[in-house]
């Protein structure tokens, strides 16, 4: 229990996907102009990550990992399908995103319209693929992967709604002309990264 909580908090605050690894910057910067759309995208990312992390874990553990096909027979015991990791993970992610897209279109057409192309683009959001790959690399268990997925999603959600609120606030600020738009968004992201470093090294015991 403590370990799961630790994984969750670590992935949400310390190793934040956006602010510590700078993954998923594309949708993070593009959809953070208003809080409302950022909120929707953040929730979608939480959902996708929460589902894909354990599904990908199962996929990796029972189909892709070296020797995991041994149950099919002797000759499969040495088969190593890890080279299929990327394409398999992406396929899972894409199908989850498709699901989210259908749900959002059904229940909130206005959000669906304002997210536009960035909703299907969650598929190629590095934060999501990154979560699955980190999970394999760090050799998490199934429960840990779920906590890690949820934590990463929550971290992305926090980061994107925070920057969206800031960008709404500074909309009428006298930002120097060359920095307007994305320039200042990058600077804000950097400053937010510093602020999130407050949890670096936190330990729950």
């Amino acid at each position: 229990m403590q370990e799961l909580l630790n994984t969750f908090i670590k992935s949400a605050f310390v190793d934040n996907m956006v602010l510590a690894y700078f993954l998923g910057m594309c949708s993070y910067l593009a959809v953070s102009k208003t809080v409302k759309t950022a909120f929707g995208l953040g929730l979608a990312v939480i959902f996708v990550l929460f589902i894909t992390a354990p599904v990908n874990w199962l996929l990796h553990e029972f189909l892709l990992k070296e020797g995991s096909l041994a149950f099919l027979g002797e000759s499969f015991a040495t088969v190593d399908l890890t080279f299929l990791k990327f394409i398999a993970f992406i396929a899972v992610i894409a199908s989850m995103v498709q699901l989210v897209e259908m749900i959002i279109e059904r229940f909130s057409p206005s959000l669906y319209n304002s997210l536009g192309i960035f909703l299907p683009l969650i598929t190629v959001n590095c934060a999501i693929l990154g979560t699955s790959l980190f999970m394999v690399q760090r050799e998490y268990t199934l429960a840990q992967s779920t906590a890690f997925g949820a934590g990463s999603g929550f971290g992305f959600f926090l980061a994107i709604i925070a920057i969206a609120a800031i960008r709404e606030k500074i909309r009428y600020s006298a930002v120097p002309a060359p920095l307007r738009g994305l320039g200042i968004a990058f600077i804000i992201t950097g400053l937010m990264g510093i602020a999130f470093m407050s949890f670096m090294g936190i330990k729950l015991s």
Partner: protein, 426 residues
């Protein structure tokens, strides 16, 4: 006064021609005298106070902390040699020593910061913005006094350019500028500013060479005070004294109580950052800000409540909850430090009075301020207790909540809009 005004009036036409010169002229003239130009058109709030007066009030509120901080540098220095142990002894010598230690930092912070402000103001064709007056005063109070001056200059430049001017100047920044400077030092030069132990001046500065103050010579002290270390020890510029927080992290409250009395924690004759050691000076400053209405009492109050709540929760967590409910024991002795002691250790009060209440970066709505302060209190205690990497949490807690302040405001006003819409429609 008359003389000054006449002087300003005579040089005014000379300054008007040059863009840069006029900006500087205007900045100083309005700093010394309230300008008599008023806006004639439109509806305006008429008030005797402008941004310059607001900032100066904060600077005034900081003076007591600064004075005590200077005194404390001297006090720690002489106590380290075993001289003048009493708090009331040789006050002016100690003050002069601390003043000379701190003066270069104050000068560098102001020259670099104001220089950049002047440049940007002239470039934009705006009058000089006053925000740096407070920042420049805060920075000497929160950086270690032995920081190399070039590092300080880089940190100040980073904070003013990236933290403030990139966002459009005073009033537009999203993170506190003084804290940005300190956090830059903290992460860029971690060896200079650990926070675990604290700098106590051990060297003799210019004071002794020029005035021969301090009664004893270097030679004499080397032999009487540090007999075993001898002169070797004196070659070290300064030595580090553990702060109450570092002790608490290692041995809980009892370790702190062994070394410091409650009274000295309160009065402030202990090693620590320049500004924060004296709780009395900070409280007087805070009261000044509350009475003049410059700082929000909501933030201060809710921050105390937040810290007390989190401290209490952690006490519970360390005692009852962890063993009975969660099933894992805590090895961290910090958990057992009673929550009320958290409020007088470290820089809690200083951060509360002068950092969290920064009107620009705090939440703007009334309700938002309460939430903002409460969360700073919680996050600060979490970082302080649970994070072994940082002994003190307020700088990072405030930066963290600075980032979320616009979000809190957004939540408050969208809730308000919803409520009023429902009332109008229903």
């Amino acid at each position: 006064m008359k003389f000054l005004r006449n002087f300003l009036e005579t040089i005014e036409p000379k300054m008007a021609g040059n863009k840069y010169l006029h900006t500087i002229y205007d900045g100083f003239a309005t700093f010394l005298f309230a300008p008599n130009s008023t806006t004639s058109e439109g509806v305006h709030i008429r008030d005797g106070i402008d941004l310059k007066r607001t900032m100066v009030t904060v600077v005034m509120a900081l003076q007591l902390c600064l004075l005590f901080g200077m005194f404390n540098i001297g006090h720690q220095h002489y106590t380290a040699y075993g001289l003048y142990p009493g708090l009331g002894e040789a006050i002016f010598t100690k003050l002069a020593y601390g003043f000379l230690q701190l003066l270069p930092i104050i000068i560098v912070a102001h020259v670099v910061g104001l220089g950049i402000e002047f440049f940007f103001a002239a470039k934009k064709g705006h009058p000089i913005e006053e925000g740096f007056l407070v920042t420049g005063m805060l920075i000497p109070l929160i950086v270690p006094p032995d920081i190399p001056l070039w590092m300080l200059a880089i940190a100040v430049a980073f904070a003013v350019i990236i933290g403030k001017e990139a966002f459009g100047g005073t009033g537009m920044n999203i993170v506190n500028v003084a804290l940005t400077a300190r956090v830059f030092l903290f992460f860029a030069y971690p060896t200079e500013i650990s926070g675990d132990t604290c700098w106590v001046a051990y060297d003799y500065n210019i004071l002794h060479n020029i005035f021969g103050m301090g009664a004893a010579t270097l030679q004499e002290l080397g032999q009487t005070v540090v007999p075993d270390g001898g002169m070797k020890k004196l070659l070290v510029d300064s030595f580090s004294g553990a702060t109450p927080l570092a002790l608490a992290a290692k041995g809980g409250w009892s370790a702190v109580a062994d070394q410091f009395t409650l009274q000295s924690l309160f009065v402030g004759d202990i090693p620590g950052s320049v500004g924060e050691t004296s709780k009395i000076a900070v409280i007087i400053g805070a009261l000044m800000l509350i009475v003049t209405g410059i700082a929000s009492w909501r933030i201060m109050l809710s921050m105390i409540v937040g810290a007390a709540f989190m401290g209490f929760f952690i006490n519970m967590f360390g005692g009852y909850l962890s063993t009975e409910v969660f099933g894992f024991a805590t090895a961290n002795p910090f958990f057992a430090v009673p929550w009320y002691y958290h409020l007088i250790m470290g820089s809690f009060l200083f951060a509360m009075a002068f950092m969290a209440t920064d009107p620009v970066t705090a939440a703007q709505t009334m309700q938002g301020k309460l939430i903002y302060g409460f969360l700073i209190g919680c996050v600060g205690i979490i970082v302080r207790v649970l994070n072994p990497a940082f002994p003190e949490g307020w700088m990072l807690a405030i930066l963290f909540m600075n980032v979320f302040a616009p979000l809190i405001d957004h939540w408050v006003y969208s809730k308000n809009i919803k409520r009023r819409l429902a009332r109008a429609n229903g």
